[in-house]
Symmetry: C2
Subunit: 352 residues, 2 copies
């Protein structure tokens, strides 16, 4: 199989973690006789440094040609003084919109080997954490009208039936290959968009009789995540709520360095990135945890290339390394073996 | 001192918990020679049952005459089929707006006696949880335009400079009598309203040189609350984010039955209510925890009547009862003495 992968290394620790993920990609190429073509693409802070623009035209062209995008992490204090429409985060939002990546899949999985890292107490953690947040990614208040006129600022949150249907479909289908349960999170006691979500999701649910559907207010969901995360299988929600809840969820697993994510659209093209940020404080020190990026590569194999075996191979390799006690600094605990970013990448590659 | 208190007993467990809070009010009257006049006001489900309307005109009149409002909890499954503009929650939103209660103060305090109830692990809990969420309550997406036209729903989030200033003032002043730290939570990398919040809050901070101010994105705040809640003193945020974060925060204390809240405006009139809901499953069983309502009464003494001594008296009484091992079912743990709602109320009264 030949595939073109756009590589956005990004800022601060971005290049380090992406470097290790590419090692993994190369080992998959070799083992399974695929050909991946790597297109280096500038976006975010690195693009501002090189061209002044957070997402230059040449990057847009390259991104549009790719079969998948691998992104490290963009942004950081260096770019705080950029005008609002040229900040590194803007590049991220534009790529999502440009490629029509309306579905953000963020697994919240507790690795049993890392259970101690969860901020939750053992009684709760023992019940397991294994769910996916399916977040709408190209609509809602992120992409509505933003306006400041004199003393008044306004942001608009809008959703159409079609936007809701297509993301809900992703959630139901995700639940079908998991534990057949979707929790739709909204604020239907206040918002018109949420009321529309409820109606559309309820209607669509009829086509998925094997999936159990329930609704939960977002304030309650924020509580339930802490109280008993084991109750969730697939959480379906709009863009803003998904931003908040998926970050809360990943913190509960205790290992935000070890979680990947996929952003998908209506074609097989997708963007894959770890959920953590660019970590300026540890940049350039070979200390970053590359596993979130490496597990994002596994998701790329699964969702964009339909290479399930390759995906599982990567996931198994990561699991084995964790079983063997290897940890980067962020995951370190007593009795474990601390390794740097590069050594961690090498260990995974050796497993593959 | 003579004060007129509007009593909204509310639905399901509402009347039970308010009944115990009134016992406490009466004991304060007796001990400190005050006169409280109790006006029973119908709002929410009880008002729908009696009059068909969630907030009838006669209730509005009574609320407007009150020096303070004590509310149990409104809403529940019985009213789910009500049209959107006549649901019990609507009554709550209307009262907030009617009385101009733009500032919602929700303490997140871990009672050391109840530390085991927190979902967080001991290492985190030991550092203590003691902060206040100052949530804007009459603006933002709650009170913006809501519109559904055909296949499209739109909610508008708007904030004016003045709305931000007055709530920020409350936060800074709250921090001045606490630990002199305000964390302003927003999504300034996406929203225009958040950008305006940052600007206005930064400007106002100059008038409070004794208060340290920092900014945090809402997704990060949702994480930090789980990771290390001890870092917060006062969290200042807009309506929707405040709804989500204050619920998450109170869950982390493990005892949502034991937390009160105050909603304040530009006069001393305020509304006081526990943060938990109407708990239909335990209604009428004398099982509810009245302490959240009783601690709301303490806040009423403090914020509306400026009776600090009376407030502390109530808070001390609750603390003593917890020290002595009395628990309602929701707080129960091994070795403690389980009591019903009424007995818990009586115990607090006896302390006073
Ligand atoms: C950087 C920011 C705009 C972005 C978002 O809010 O979507 C980030 O928090 C995320 O979740 O990917
Ligand atoms: C009932 C609901 C409208 C309300 C809100 O969202 O404000 C509640 O969740 C609260 O926090 O008081």
């Amino acid at each position: 199989m030949e595939k073109r992968i756009a590589i956005v290394r990004g800022d601060y620790i971005g290049p380090e973690i992406v470097g290790e993920a590419i090692k993994v990609l190369r080992s998959i190429e070799a083992k399974y006789h695929h050909t991946f073509i790597y297109d280096e693409v500038l976006a975010g802070g690195a693009a501002i440094d090189a061209t002044g623009e957070c997402l230059p035209q040449v990057s847009i062209v390259a991104l549009k040609q790719a079969d998948a995008v691998l992104l490290g992490a963009v942004g950081g204090p260096k770019y705080d003084s950029q005008p609002a429409n040229n900040r590194p985060e803007k590049a991220l939002l534009r790529i999502r919109s440009l490629l029509g990546l309306f579905a953000n899949l963020r697994p919240a999985i507790l690795f049993p080997q890392l259970a101690d890292a969860s901020p939750l107490k053992p009684e709760i953690v023992q019940k397991g954490i294994d769910f996916v947040v399916v977040r709408e990614l190209t609509g809602g208040i992120y992409f509505g009208k933003h306006e400041t006129i004199g003393d008044l600022a306004v942001d608009e949150m809008a959703y159409s039936v079609e936007e809701i249907q297509r993301i809900a479909k992703v959630a139901f289908e995700t639940a079908q290959v998991r534990h057949h349960k979707v929790t739709c999170v909204d604020k239907a006691n206040v918002l018109d968009t949420s009321k529309l979500w409820r109606k559309v999701v309820k209607d669509l649910a009829k086509e998925y009789p094997d999936v159990e559907l329930n609704f939960m207010y977002v304030d309650n969901a924020a509580m339930q995540l802490c109280k008993d995360p084991s109750q969730f299988d697939v959480i379906l929600t709009e863009n803003m709520f998904g931003d908040i809840l998926s970050d809360e969820a990943s913190m509960l697993t205790g290992t935000i360095g070890t979680i990947g994510s996929a952003s998908l659209g209506s074609t097989s093209v997708g963007m894959y990135e770890p959920i953590h940020g660019s970590a300026p404080d540890i940049a350039g020190k070979d200390m970053a945890n590359p596993l979130g990026t490496i597990l994002s590569v596994a998701m790329m194999m699964r969702y964009s290339f339909h290479l399930e075996k390759e995906a599982q191979d990567i996931e198994k390799a990561v699991n084995t390394i964790l079983d063997e006690g290897y940890r980067t600094a962020d995951m370190m605990s007593e009795g474990m073996k601390q390794v740097g970013c590069q050594e961690m990448g090498d260990l995974v590659v050796k497993q593959i």
